[in-house]
Symmetry: C2
Subunit: 230 residues, 2 copies
DNA sequence: TAGTGGTCTAGACCACTCA
DNA sequence: GAGTGGTCTAGACCACTAT
């Protein structure tokens, strides 16, 4: 057989695994042999196998060879878009409104996450995001003013803090948490739903290098679904 | 400067973007120039930039060059482990129990997803997963018996259907959905909680090639959090 | 210690797409 | 049409690790 594109080779190997030619945990031929079999350079086989390894389908070890992953980990890649885009993607008209905004000392749990000293203040803001004038998501956020000084003068009438931060501090790292929560009084009122209503929540903490940037809780309206391919 | 590992180069470019040397949307030097600057082969720069592109940090176009992504997409990579591993990872003792099991014609919505004819039957199973003898998650599942004939004889006393399927049909593709739902009577009873309790739900449909394999709803107990790094 | 993957190089040709 | 990324090759050396 003569396949010489890394994509073709990847597909072929994938099929051979799926077909059972190489069982779970089994060792597959080494790069040199596959290169010979496919009639291509070892580099090309390497690239195909590297992709399969990133994907979790095989496990590679020097000297140990390449094996079909016996405990395949299902990975979902979630893209977390800016809210406005999320709304507009489903043909809704997006609008946001700031409900509350202040500069105050945060509660202890937030303060610890932000690594602030006891009396240091932080920027607090509550935003409601609307789709076609109906509540879409309620956002509660703390921002480290030291790390993001421009925050106090930002034009939150035009740009949601969500978007403003993405443009200002674009490539931060962080942690996300997904959970379900029953709406308390404040959230229920903001989203125009009843207390206790089950809501989907995204919790996000963001860093830029060592500097804490922001901590956000996003309560989606009832029925919101986040989906992804495996 | 002389950097010749793709990882070093990637890091360097990352830093130059973060530092603002190349602004959002700005074009960065082409591969040949960077290769010269770093004192390495173009292939090496290519690999570094390809990684950054997969990551969403830059956008690459032939002739258009490489640009810093002006609308960085936050990607979260979620690993969805088998339940037993999830429980054991937090030092819990895992056990599962089958609550209901039958072979019947599924309701219309499930039937459509499974592409079954009106009177065709499917395998239905309800499982409760326990951590330290307390309800951890409640699983409701339909399985296509045509695609997975072995299912009727599988040893669900030892292995949860969850794990059995992973071992039997390891590399399937599919769709996942995350949402929040208020517990109905059946779910509340299985998870030993109250009706209306907000629960985190994972919905999963799985295919192998063109063949539908299974459709699952997993209700996690109150307070469950799924987390991931950005 | 020997086998296997990890990576770099220099050069080449191709495919897209912008101007 | 020309510039830029996409990819392949053949060869080389290195780094890990199973045996």
């Amino acid at each position: 057989m003569s396949l010489n594109s890394h994509q073709d080779i990847r597909q072929s190997i994938e099929r051979r695994i799926l077909s059972g030619e190489w069982a779970l945990g089994a060792r597959i031929p080494d790069e040199a042999k596959l290169a010979e079999e496919y009639g291509c350079a070892r580099t090309t086989v390497n690239r195909a196998l590297r992709a399969l390894a990133e994907n979790g389908m095989v496990i590679r070890k020097r000297k140990g060879g390449t094996r079909v992953n016996p405990a395949p980990v299902k990975q979902a890649r979630l893209e977390i878009p800016v809210l406005r885009e999320q709304v507009e993607a489903s043909d809704g008209i997006y609008r946001h409104q700031v409900l509350n905004m202040s500069v105050t000392a945060p509660p202890a749990d937030v303060r610890n996450q932000l690594r602030l000293s006891p009396k240091q203040k932080a920027f607090y803001i509550e935003t409601i995001h609307l789709a076609d004038e109906k509540p879409y998501a309620f956002e509660v956020r703390w921002v480290n003013m030291t790390a993001v000084p421009g925050i106090v003068d930002a034009p939150f009438e035009e740009l949601s803090i969500n978007e403003w931060l993405v443009r200002t501090v674009p490539f931060s790292s962080g942690e996300v948490r997904f959970s379900a929560i029953g709406a308390d009084k404040a959230v229920a009122s903001a989203l125009d739903t009843k207390v206790g209503q089950a809501l989907f929540v995204i919790d996000r903490t963001t860093w830029l290098g060592d500097a804490f940037i922001t901590m956000m809780k996003l309560y989606y309206r009832e029925g919101h679904v986040l989906h992804s391919r495996l």
